[in-house]
């Protein structure tokens, strides 16, 4: 490493690479991350396009074919009301993944705004960090359960069953999971804002807002990206856990977690019913975690393996 001075290295490699191309090159070196990405996109694409090809209504009750194992007509079997499990899992995956994505965006957005403001404005730092500490001291799972119980019915009547519960769960998960991102971003901002280019920008007369979003944010993007990947995995798990406890999505809008919850009373009759959604959740979370690992290694030059 130290044998080649930075100048010599620049001469060796005349073609400069953009940060993203470089990151991508590092990312594809991580075998787990590549496999994870492939698995993840297969699942995402099959939940998006699967229902267009496999055209069985997940709500249709084929009462003659109840509690079946895998057959030709129903590749993953049917549930106790004769509903096709493949269709249910594909439809459920759409909602589970959408919840994970939107909840992650809310949580990352909140965490970034709070972290950047708290790192950049010393006056806000104290109060925002106390708020973060308080959120970290709240027992979140019980409060999530309670909040869902409180607002489920009113939101359901307000904007309809599907959108209501979706909005509620997404917002609740987002609002209760921003704390780690905020802390990491704050720490990075505190370090970056003392650097010369920030002083230069402010000496050139840049406004606070411009310095924050144009100069500091791009430099703290890598930890945000990594926590976005991990945040999506944990949002999917939280949603499944809530649905598994019977306080998430209702039976008529099943997600993977709800399918597990509905299937757990039929373990001796149709054990495969809990296996499909369980494998789906696990595969998504494992692949996202592997991608997060790969992304962290790719974005952190100190972790790079030589050659």
């Amino acid at each position: 490493m130290s044998a080649v001075s930075p100048n010599a290295r620049a001469k060796q490699k005349p073609k400069s690479e953009s940060l993203w191309l470089d990151t991508w090159k590092q990312f594809v070196k991580h075998k787990g991350a590549v496999v994870g990405m492939i698995v993840f996109f297969i699942i995402v694409f099959s939940t998006i396009f699967g229902p267009m090809i496999y055209r069985i209504d997940p709500q249709y009750n084929d009462l003659r074919a109840r509690n079946q194992g895998p057959t030709l007509a129903h590749p993953l079997g049917t549930d106790n009301l004769g509903r096709d499990l493949l269709a249910a899992n594909l439809a459920g995956g759409r909602i589970s993944l959408a919840v994970g994505l939107v909840a992650m965006l809310i949580s990352i957005g909140l965490g970034t705004v709070i972290g950047v403001s708290s790192g950049y404005f010393p006056r806000l730092d104290g109060i925002l960090m106390r708020l973060t500490d308080m959120f970290l001291a709240l027992p979140l799972l019980p409060l999530l359960l309670v909040a869902i119980m409180l607002f489920r019915d009113s939101l359901r009547s307000l904007v309809g069953p599907e959108t209501g519960i979706f909005l509620l769960i997404v917002v609740l998960i987002g609002v209760t999971s921003w704390m780690n991102t905020a802390r990491i971003v704050r720490g990075e901002v505190l370090a970056v804002k003392e650097r010369e280019f920030v002083t230069a920008a402010s000496a050139l007369g840049s406004q606070n807002n411009r310095i924050m979003w144009q100069h500091i944010l791009p430099n703290v993007l890598s930890p945000i990206l990594v926590s976005a990947a991990l945040g999506m995995a944990s949002a999917i798990i939280t949603e499944s856990a809530l649905s598994f406890l019977g306080l998430g999505f209702p039976s008529d809008v099943p997600t993977w977690g709800r399918l597990l919850f509905d299937g757990k009373d039929f373990l001796s009759l149709t054990p495969l019913r809990v296996v499909w959604p369980g494998i789906a959740i696990s595969l998504v979370v494992i692949s996202v975690n592997f991608m997060g690992d790969g992304l962290r290694d790719a974005l952190d030059p100190r972790l790079r393996t030589k050659g």
């Binding site: 500490d133 709240l138 409060l143 359960l145 309670v146 598994f244 054990p271 809990v274 979370v285």
Partner: protein, 337 residues
Amino acid sequence: MFQYIVRRILIAIPTLLVISFVIFTILDLAPSDPTGNLPLSIPQEVKEQIRKSLGLDQPFHIRYLKWTRQFFIDEPLALVENVTGIKFPGSEKRTRIDSWSTHSSVIDLIFQRMPQTLWVVGMAYVLGILIAIPVGVLSAYRQYSIFDQLGTFISLIGFSVPTFFTGLLAIVIFSVKLKWFPSVYDTTLVVQDWASFVKQLKQMVMPVTVLAFFNASQLSRFMRSSMLDNLTQDYARTARSKGLQERAVVLGHVLRNSLIPVVTLIALGIPGIFGGAIITEQIFRINGLGDLLIKGIQNADIPLVQTLTFIFAVLIVIFNIFADLAYGLLDPRIRYG
């Protein structure tokens, strides 16, 4: 050090008061009416009487102050009285927090349910630690070996796969197919002889294994990276170059230093035991604290849920302080200013 402890406790008190207010307010918003489930034949006046007897006719701030007094003063005193038998003056005037659905003291209910949770979830935590530390040490010491690669792969899977899936899978395999273990945890079982002890062990195997696997996966990753940080430090090289045995270097010097952040994490994770119990207890139908909470939420038993949730919060705050203190005690480089 002493000053630091006092300051932390002084900060913890307003934090807990704010949290108690937040929890109380959120639950107080509940649209549920404790008389809503009563038969329609009961006249309206009687329902009013019931609401009055539950103290629901009083304004919000009075109810909140009453609840905090019950929680912070009356309940601890009642606890001391029950344990020691000493009567404090005014004990007949004090009221305890009563559950709406069972009409017994919430604290008593919690003490009834605590052993089940502690046995299963607590044991899984201890077992997880016992597995994670040697695995993490070996993984780091033989970095990139087959053991390390297998270990990191399994631990990544272990903490990615949610316990509600591994638990159900274990039930399908070991109790439905193989019929080795019972799928429902029998909490009425009293261990009095060898046969009932074996039965107790058998029903504990699955929940404890599933949770321990999950805990060990998380912890072994931290243990590994902490060991890796320390193995390359100067002091490790110094210890080797002065002729210490490899065993003494790794176990005596590196391990001791690597354990510092891990011990903090273990302390921070203890309140999480109770949160994790909520899900585990639903899978294996154990009637511990998590089950109590879920039942309370389903029955809209507001005082029970308020108190239990707040106790979880108190545990989080207390173990945060413990973790910081442990950090200072174990690492003399840390000075409390």
